[in-house]
């Protein structure tokens, strides 16, 4: 589905980025038009991002990324902008699940020392992030097997279609 080594340029965000920052409520009416909604992605945290982010760029944030509302449009607009992976010190749980469900990779790792514009390489298989600009590397813990399985199938809908349900479900 997805190659295991991703290269990209960092967009750096701080702690507590909420889904209101990522997809502001004033664009509620655009939820049916993902492309239009994505033009405002993260607008309230960094208006440059909404204008200038390029496909393949990587969002790097501090603690509790994606806190707040359950709106799945938050990971979806990032994906729509060509973001495939988000690195954060920690994630809010609904965003974390939503990201996996729509095929956006959330990675929990120490994000200190990453700055906007840094070139980085994320190796999903080895669980390693290299900051090529600053010349350091960090390791991260892989996702729980359930989430890995969903991501490997490209998200929850393809997962269920392929497996006929949750792959690990032993209930009748």
């Amino acid at each position: 589905m997805m190659e295991n080594v991703l290269h990209g340029k960092v967009w750096r965000f701080g702690d507590g980025i909420s889904t209101d920052h990522i997809t502001p409520g004033r664009y509620y009416h655009l939820r049916g038009d993902l492309k239009a909604l994505a033009e405002h992605a993260l607008e309230d945290a960094d208006s440059d991002f909404a204008q200038k982010a390029q496909p393949g760029d990587i969002v790097v944030a501090g603690k509790n990324f994606g806190q707040g509302s359950s709106r799945e449009h938050a990971p979806l607009v990032l994906k729509e902008r060509g973001i495939r992976v988000v690195l954060a010190q920690s994630f809010a749980r609904i965003f974390f699940r939503n990201a996996v469900n729509v095929g956006l990779v959330p990675i929990i790792c120490d994000t200190g020392g990453f700055e906007t514009g840094d070139e980085i390489e994320v190796d999903l298989e080895r669980g390693r992030v290299r900051n090529l600009t600053e010349g350091f590397e960090r390791f991260f813990t892989p996702l729980p097997p359930i989430m890995q399985a969903i991501l490997a199938d490209g998200g929850l809908v393809p997962h269920i279609l392929k497996r006929g349900g949750f792959q690990w479900d032993s209930t009748p």
Partner: protein, 416 residues
């Protein structure tokens, strides 16, 4: 070792023993979505190719109620059509906020409730395991009747002492979130108990559970007891009651003891909920708008407290006061008690039951540089429709006192 409330509910529903940290698949009893999250859930459900809904499915029109834009009107129309075809239940605009209605009419102690809205945890007040998810997780449950969960570790919040006058459940939960931090309970369940919680009404317990997610929690829960029983009887569904409490030897990750007697009214300052502080630190700050309502504090007991302060007084001329009852039922009860008349006479604007003002969809949008004191649960930047506005959070009593004075005011000044 015994079970916490969360563990007990999940163990009962899946019919085997469980352990915190374990990944399980569980049946879903009730699920909800609204016009902001429902369309995507429907799209994903249709992508799954299943004909039938596998679970009681509730759609609420509350975030844009009544709809301010044709895009949202069309979304509601589409959900209505799907609901008729598939047998989902629609709660039309004006009926009320999803979490209020789910707790009044649908959720039962011991159930697993999921919702495509982060404040689905509100129904934990009845002793249900209720948690917010995204549209795709909800779509999967619509198709399969199940969801997957990691059984959360539980933080027991033991609240002792006695709440002082004009200090409320909202002050307790704001203080707790300030203490835990916005990610202090991520992936965990918050279980509220102790003498103060035992003496709280279900309405107050809803305020506690509603904001569990603001500390990152997966669920907030209270035991189902005689208070719960009476609440369900008042809703005409006493037969839905089953008693439910954690085992005395339950294994908690941590027990946090709070002494309510020591608590001041709390205010959370911009732009994070965990910026909670005692009112003494922010008294006198000028405010442009006050909003009393939402799934956190738009219930009858909240409106009574606010009306008690506003009765015979006027809203400060430099300030706008918005009041939104949480449901039609609340609205009618407030009308019959004369509370609505009190608000209108004081100069308030009455909003239809709904979420629009809190989430920035419509009604009460702030101007650049304006400051709103609200009884809602979130003060994130841009939340009320303008990233250049500021939101502070408080109890209904503090909000009403502030509406009278035009600046943040300690409601204890209005005692007696």
């Amino acid at each position: 070792m015994g079970y916490t409330l969360a563990e007990k509910i999940i163990a009962q529903r899946i019919g085997r023993e469980v352990e915190a940290g374990e990944f399980i698949v569980a049946p879903v009893d009730v699920l909800l979505a609204h016009e902001g999250t429902g369309p995507l859930a429907v799209e994903q459900f249709e992508g799954l190719g299943r004909e039938r809904l596998a679970v009681t499915t509730l759609f609420f029109f509350d975030h844009a109620a009544p709809s301010p834009r044709r895009e949202l009107s069309n979304v509601q129309k589409r959900l209505r059509t799907f609901a008729v075809e598939k047998g989902a239940n629609v709660s039309e605009a004006g009926s009320g906020i999803c979490h209020q209605i789910v707790t009044e009419q649908w959720a039962k102690p011991g159930q697993i409730v999921i919702g495509a809205d982060s404040h689905t945890c509100t129904a934990g007040a009845l002793g249900a395991f209720a948690t917010g998810m995204g549209s795709t997780d909800v779509a999967a449950a619509m198709a399969l009747g199940k969801t997957w969960l990691r059984i959360p570790q539980t933080l027991r919040i033991e609240i002792g002492g006695e709440l002082p006058p004009m200090v409320a459940a909202k002050d307790v939960i704001l203080h707790l979130i300030g203490f835990l931090g916005a990610d202090g309970a991520t992936y965990k369940a918050l279980e509220f108990g102790g003498p103060v919680v035992e003496n709280m009404s279900v309405e107050e317990r809803m305020t506690l559970c509603n904001m569990a997610v603001e500390a990152g929690a997966k669920a907030g829960l209270c035991a189902a007891d005689e208070v719960t029983h009476r609440f369900l009887e008042d809703q005409g569904r006493g037969e839905d009651y089953v008693p439910l409490s954690p085992d005395p030897d339950a294994a908690y990750e941590r027990v946090i003891e709070l002494d309510a007697s020591q608590l001041s009214p709390q205010v959370a300052t911009p732009h994070f909920v965990d910026n909670a502080r005692p009112i003494e630190e922010v008294e006198g700050m000028s405010i442009d708008q006050v909003f009393i309502g939402t799934c956190t504090n738009g219930r009858l007991s909240d409106l009574r407290v606010a009306a008690g302060i506003l009765k015979g007084r006027k809203v400060h001329p430099h300030l706008r006061l918005l009041v939104g009852p949480a449901s039609r039922k609340t609205y009618l009860a407030a009308l019959r008690e004369g509370l609505i008349e009190t608000f209108v006479e004081a100069g308030a604007i009455i909003l239809p039951p709904g979420c629009g003002a809190c989430v920035g969809v419509h009604q009460g949008v702030l101007a650049d540089g304006e400051r709103c004191l609200s009884t809602q649960n979130r003060n994130f930047q841009g939340r009320m429709g303008n990233p250049r506005g500021e939101i502070l959070l408080s109890s209904p009593a503090t909000a009403a006192a502030t509406a009278v004075r035009g600046q943040i005011t300690d409601p204890r000044e209005f005692i007696g």
